[in-house]
């Protein structure tokens, strides 16, 4: 009984200390279908201070949208005897296919570097789990190379003023997904920061999936390789043959 009382008390105490964060996303499912050229997600919500009032405290908001992670090998080209070829390589065990950060102020002004690294507040802090090369300098070079590559592909990005807060309560951020996004479950994490500390956080998910014909094509290619290949050949030959016939008649 004594333990239970302590637990309830602790819950109440913590409930009183932590601000409340109510996040929402404009869509929980991104449908990739014919004509998909990318989309924009609106991450919005409200933040209240522990007493349940809004607009009393100046919270900063940081949102992190992350795609599924996959193991990759990053190769680096160098000049060997006048020819540019792959030389060194580095493995990353968990490179997210998409990563975007938006914050209400530049992250450096909100939290210190250590906190930023813990919560992945920025493309410099993505936890990629490098393995292979142990030399930290080389590891840094590879990490920067990967981030730079994916940044230019529109897959990794940060917007240091991307979150707008109105009346100290309502916040919103827009994050664009390019057409080359990989399907999977994306997580959107929202953090309320006060006085250099993360005081509240909430997670929600966005499913990026192919639908309709696009889904059918992908599934067939993955699961029925032989039939898919034969259909592709058949399609190819029929089109060629029909065109030949048409032109012969003309």
């Amino acid at each position: 009984m004594k333990w239970l009382f302590l637990l309830v008390a602790a819950l109440m105490l913590s409930g009183q200390r932590d601000p409340m964060l109510v996040p929402e996303i404009s869509q929980h499912e991104v449908r990739v279908r014919q004509g998909f050229t990318g989309t924009e997600l609106l991450l919005f919500g409200a933040v209240f201070d522990p007493s349940g009032r809004g607009g009393a405290t100046d919270y900063d908001i940081v949102v992190v949208l992350k795609g599924p992670s996959e193991p990759i090998r990053l190769r680096e080209k160098d000049r060997v005897g006048g020819i540019w070829m792959n030389t060194a390589s580095e493995d990353f065990r968990s490179a997210p296919v998409f990563f975007a950060v938006a914050s209400s102020r530049p992250v450096g002004e909100i939290v210190d570097e250590k906190t930023a690294a813990i919560y992945e507040f920025g493309t410099d802090f993505i936890q990629l789990s490098p393995s292979g090369v142990i030399d930290p300098e080389e590891q840094l070079r590879f990490t920067e190379g990967l981030v730079d590559l994916r940044r230019r592909q529109g897959l990794y990005k940060q917007d240091l003023n991307g979150v707008t807060i109105s009346e100290k309560v309502l916040y919103q951020a827009r994050i664009a997904l390019p057409s080359n996004v990989v399907t999977g479950i994306y997580t959107a994490e929202t953090f309320a920061v006060f006085d250099g500390r993360v005081v509240a956080s909430a997670v929600s998910e966005v499913a990026v999936r192919k639908v309709g014909f696009e889904r059918f094509i992908e599934q067939s290619a993955q699961n029925n390789g032989l039939i898919y290949g034969l259909v592709a050949v058949f399609l190819s030959i029929t089109t060629g043959w029909l065109a030949g016939r048409l032109f012969a008649m003309m």
């Binding site: 190769r75 080209k77 990967l146 898919y228 592709a232 399609l235 089109t239 029909l242 065109a243 032109f247």
Partner: protein
């Protein structure tokens, strides 16, 4: 017109892809090459992942060569016997090529191997063709009707077991086209191309085939080798993008017909000179790109 490619995971401008297909189609009808050596690099340049580009381009080449083969065979331009021997060699070569591809990919050097192969093959063949075509053209301008005998390479006549290839006008060992087929098959798998730009000059200058069956027979071989390549890709890399193939096909089947029509209006020497020029330009660009710092120093490979 935006079209989403489900396997490449990318939205592209559909009309641009159709136009690219059309360009390859014209080349294929005109010269009997599949045009893969142009499609694959251009698709990669556009942002399509390299494996998807190579796999889909080979499927498209199938379609482009069907209409080419039909157009050529109605004019008696296909030596099916020679084509059959080449195809058998091509299939052996495709298997060997797949093994080599996997090896070079595992050590991360497949890109540089492909590029060097392109430069060497295109450079040599381009130069050979240009020289021969120029010589023929100049001789004709000199107005001396000097009939030069078609000759095959001395090494070819050294091979045992001779067959008669009536349409090609040859009496040579089938081992020669078989070995040629194996070589082209290896290159098809490695370079993601139909191999016509190697096959056509090799048929002319190594086998010494009669020029009027070279284009048709080459297309006939390409047709079958690309079918095998498509099936292999569908089973292993799963990188054939049906939507991309369809777009390329619309352009290329139309282009192939146009190309064949144009081809019958020009002197074969002139056509060969034009092909030689295109081949040399591409070889030069690739050589240049090997030596300059690439746009992307880093590349990602999925594990």
């Amino acid at each position: 017109m935006d079209v989403y490619l489900p396997i490449a995971n990318l939205a592209v401008n559909g009309l641009l892809i159709v136009a690219l297909g059309g360009l390859t189609g014209i080349l294929s009808g005109l010269f009997g090459v599949g045009g893969g050596f142009l499609t694959t690099p251009l698709l990669i340049f556009y942002g399509v992942p390299p494996t998807v580009a190579a796999a889909s381009a080979s499927t498209q080449v199938t379609g482009a060569s069907v209409s080419g083969v039909i157009a050529q065979s109605s004019r008696g331009g296909v030596d099916y016997q020679m084509g059959g021997v080449l195809i058998v060699g091509g299939m052996i070569g495709a298997v060997l090529g797949a093994l080599l591809f996997r090896f070079f990919q595992s050590i991360g050097q497949i890109d540089v191997v492909i590029n060097i192969l392109y430069v060497l093959m295109l450079g040599t063949i381009g130069a050979m063709m240009a020289r021969e075509a120029l010589q023929t053209l100049l001789r004709k301008q000199g107005d001396k009707p000097e009939v030069r005998r078609r000759r095959h390479h001395p090494m070819v006549s050294a091979l045992p077991l001779r067959w008669r290839f009536y349409r090609s006008g040859l009496y040579i060992s089938p081992l020669a086209p078989l070995i040629l087929g194996v070589g082209v098959g290896i290159l098809t798998m490695l370079m993601g191309v139909g191999g016509g730009f190697i096959l056509v000059p090799a048929m002319l200058y190594i086998l010494g085939m009669s020029a009027n069956v070279v284009v048709g027979t080459s297309l006939f071989n390409i047709l079958f080798v690309t079918i095998v390549t498509t099936i292999t890709h569908s089973l292993t890399t799963k990188a054939v993008d049906m939507v991309l193939v369809a777009l390329l096909l619309i352009g290329s089947v139309t282009g192939a017909q146009l190309g064949t029509k144009i081809a019958f209006q020009f002197k074969p020497e002139l056509l060969r000179l034009a092909l030689a020029a295109i081949v040399l330009v591409i070889a030069f660009i690739m050589l240049f790109r090997l030596g300059v710092r690439p746009d992307e120093v880093y590349s990602v490979q999925l594990l």
